[in-house]
Structure formats: C-alpha cells, structure tokens
C-alpha cells in the first residue's frame, strides 16, 4: 500500500511539475482572492488582523476546491483508469498517494497564502509561525477529505457538484483551523484544536482507505 501510495503521489506531482497549473493558475487565483477579501473589508478592517485567520482559511478552501478538481481531472485522460485497473494497484494506496500529492500542493499554497495574509491582512508573523503546525494538519485533513469528495464527484457534473458536497463537509475543518490559528495569534490553547484536526485527519484517512476502492469499482 505504501509503495503504491508513493508511486501515485510521485506521478501526480510529476504531472503538476510539468503542467505548472498550480503555479500559473491556482496560486494567482489564491492571491487575487486574498486581495479581494482585503478590498471587500476596506483598508481599516483589512488592517485589523482579527479577520486574518478566517480569511486565510476561506481563500485556502476556495483554492483547495480548484486543486481537488485538478487532481481528479488528471485521472480522466483516456486510458488512465483502465491502466490503473490493469496494474492491479491497491485502491487504498491510490487514495493515500493522491491525498499525499494534494496535501503537498496545498502545503506549498498554504505557506504562500500565509505569507500573503501577513503582508496584506497584517496577520502577526510570530502568530503565523506558531500556527504553522495546525495549518499543516488542517491542510492535510482537507487533502484527505478532498480526495474522497473528488472521487465521489468525478465525471459528469463533478465540477459544479464538488462545492455543494464538499464545502458543508469542510466547514468543521474550517472552524477548527480558524480557531487554532486565532489561538496561536492570541497565545491561547492551540493544542486542543490541533488534536481535533488530527482526529479528523485520522477519521477521513480511515474512511478513504476503506471505501476508495468502492468508488473506483467499475
């Protein structure tokens, strides 16, 4: 399973490196969304960093939706599914590999958006560094849940269906992520939220390992 996961992860990341969709399409969208949040709030409120954690996660969530769609569209190229089926790859490994690749992309995006929120929304740099472990866990949980929801909505009306299904399910992750970030800014109890996020990560991973094969059955 681990070997399959590493193979699939390497394949997805290699495709990303070659196509550079993340660099030229997703990241500019994220930065633009962050700027729009600042514009919508106005200079006085955007400069007040209390809104920073919530806006950071909101933008990350929107970016994550694009990346989940992208992660699934990679599988839609003719013959890919048939090749995976012929190779007899372990579905749990495929799930973990795709999740790991998505998490890696989200971590890169997250760090850039975090820097953006420090610059644009005046979030404290010290707080942002303290929040980094919880951001990493939140984005990993988003990636795992996102891979599951991406597989659920792949094909047909998937692009429009994904936000409808995934956003309400991501809401608890958004809340926990925002609270842990705010706790880091105010030097509060970050570990409680970190624990909740870790539990979410484990639960979604377990469900994915068990059920991804069912979604990929033909």
């Amino acid at each position: 399973m681990i070997r399959t996961a590493l193979l699939v992860c390497a394949k997805d990341l290699r495709i990303e490196m070659r196509s550079r969709v993340l660099l030229w399409q997703v990241l500019p969208f994220g930065v633009m969304a962050l700027l729009l949040c600042g514009i919508a709030l106005g200079p006085a409120r955007a400069g007040n960093s209390s809104a920073g954690p919530g806006l950071f996660y909101l933008v990350t969530l929107l970016v994550a939706l694009l990346m989940i769609n992208r992660s699934q569209s990679v599988e839609k190229t003719p013959g890919t599914k048939a090749s995976v089926a012929t190779l007899g790859l372990d579905p749990a490994g495929v799930f973990l590999g795709k999740s790991l690749a998505l998490a890696s992309e989200l971590w890169v995006t997250g760090v850039i958006l975090l820097a953006g929120s420090v610059l644009v929304l005046h979030t404290s740099l010290h707080g942002a560094i303290l929040a980094l472990p919880s951001v990493i866990v939140t984005l990993a949980a988003l990636a795992v849940a996102g891979t599951l929801y991406g597989a659920l909505t792949s094909g047909g009306d998937g692009a429009t269906l994904l936000p409808v299904l995934a956003l309400p399910a991501f809401a608890p992750l958004l809340i926990a992520g925002e609270r842990s970030f705010s706790a880091a800014l105010h030097h509060g109890g970050i570990w409680r939220w970190w624990l909740i996020l870790s539990v979410a990560l484990v639960v979604y991973s377990a469900i994915g390992i068990l059920l991804y094969g069912v979604l990929e059955e033909s």
Partner: protein, 241 residues
C-alpha cells in the same frame, strides 16, 4: 396475514398517536411556568429534530453501510437510504423552522450563529447534496455506490451536532432527556407527552418512508417499462425497414 394486518394498522395507529400528541400538547398539558404557551413547542420541535438527526439519518447511514458491505449489498438498501434521506430533508427543514419560531420570542431573533443551529443547517445542505449527487449519476450502480459512500461520510456530522451544546458555549439549551448524568430534566405529564411525541413522530417517519419506498419501486418499474417499450418500438421500426 399478520404482516398485511400490521401494515394496514400502522397508518391509523400513527394518526392516532399524532392526534393524542396534539390534544395533550395543545390543550391538556398546562403552560410552562417560565415560557408560558411557547413551551408547547417542546412537543413538536425536539421530536422533529430527533427524527431528522437520529432516526432518518441513522436509517440512511445504516442502509448505506449495509449497501457498501458486499454480503448485504442490494438495491433495497440503496432505495431505503435514498428515501430516508429525502424524508430527512423535510424533517431537517421542519426542525429549523420550528426552532426559529421558538427562537424569535425566546432569544429575540429568528437565527443566531449558534453551534447547534449552524451544524443542523450544514447537515440540511449535506442532505440536499446527497440528493444532488443521486441526480448527477445516471448509471444505477455507480449512483448507488457513490450515494452509499456519501451517506456514510455525512453521518460523521450527527455526533458533532449532538455534542455541539457541550463542546461550544451555545444559546441552544442542553439535553433534557439524554443528559450526561442520565437524569431527566422534565417530569410528570410534560414528560409523558414528550415521550408520546417522540413515538408519534418516529411512527410518522416510518409511515412516510414506507410510502416513499413504494413510490420509488413504482417509479423504477415505470422507467423500466418505458425503456422496454422504446426498445420494442425501435425493433419494430427495424423490422419494417
């Protein structure tokens, strides 16, 4: 024979239970000392929420899980999950509406960003998402598999809603019946009426579910017959030309 009799009696029994609940809740039980007549909503709102969150979602989640397990995989499980989820959408909407009617005089607003209310609303959107997912897939097997996975996934939200009043500081009152120290916070005729309301609404759910299931079977039969008819027509056209 017994099965037919119980099926025939279930409807009238449900209506009787609902009638008893209505009479007791609206006329016989005295008004509450603090909330007055407003407290009569206690014989509707908690039982509607019970059906929405636990009975209907539980039925949908268990049926979905049974569909995913290869030994119990059958079209019946898929249909039950689908029908239960459809009924749950109605009950979640009723929960939010009756909650708002209670909230307006009690809290002064129709809606607050309370953990219980928000998580219930999210569950409602997820249930609508389930129905959207079913409509998005034409292949019956693919649709059943995806819906079953989603049915299990969204069940994670039910414990979050249940414990939300303990995990967060909320305006919504805590548990009255299923308290953490297992002591009832309601007594006498109020407790009995509340119990009857729970039974009546649970019976109503299963009654609606039964009819919705039969409707689904009929709909599938009609869809199958239409397909057969269209195929026969094409074959006739082919034979003539």
């Amino acid at each position: 024979m017994m099965k037919q009799l119980s099926q025939r009696l279930f409807g009238p029994l449900t209506l009787t239970a609902m009638g008893v609940n209505l009479v007791l809740g609206l006329w016989i039980v005295p008004p509450d000392k603090v909330q007055g007549e407003l407290a009569r909503l206690v014989y509707i709102h908690p039982s509607v929420a019970w059906v929405a969150l636990y009975v209907s979602f539980g039925t949908a989640a268990i049926s979905s899980a049974l569909y995913l397990w290869k030994r119990t995989r059958s079209v019946v499980m898929d249909r039950v999950a689908h029908c239960a989820m459809e009924v749950s959408v109605v009950f979640i909407a009723l929960t939010l509406i009756t909650g708002s009617i209670w909230g307006r005089p009690a809290w002064g607003v129709w809606w607050v960003w309370d953990a219980r209310l928000t998580s219930s609303a999210i569950l409602g959107v997820l249930a609508l998402g389930y129905l959207a997912l079913r409509r998005a897939n034409d292949d019956p097997q693919l649709r059943a598999r995806r819906s079953a996975v989603f049915g299990v996934l969204i069940a994670i939200n039910v414990p979050i809603i249940h414990f939300s009043v303990q995990w967060w500081k909320t305006l919504h009152q805590g548990a009255t019946v299923f308290t953490s120290n297992r002591t009832l916070l309601i007594h006498g005729i109020q407790a009995w009426t509340l119990l009857i309301s729970f039974i009546a609404f649970t019976m109503l759910f299963f009654w609606i579910l039964r009819y919705r299931y039969r409707l689904e079977v009929l709909r599938e039969n009609i869809a199958g017959a239409s397909l057969e008819e269209a195929l026969s027509a094409r074959r006739r056209e082919g034979a003539q030309s």
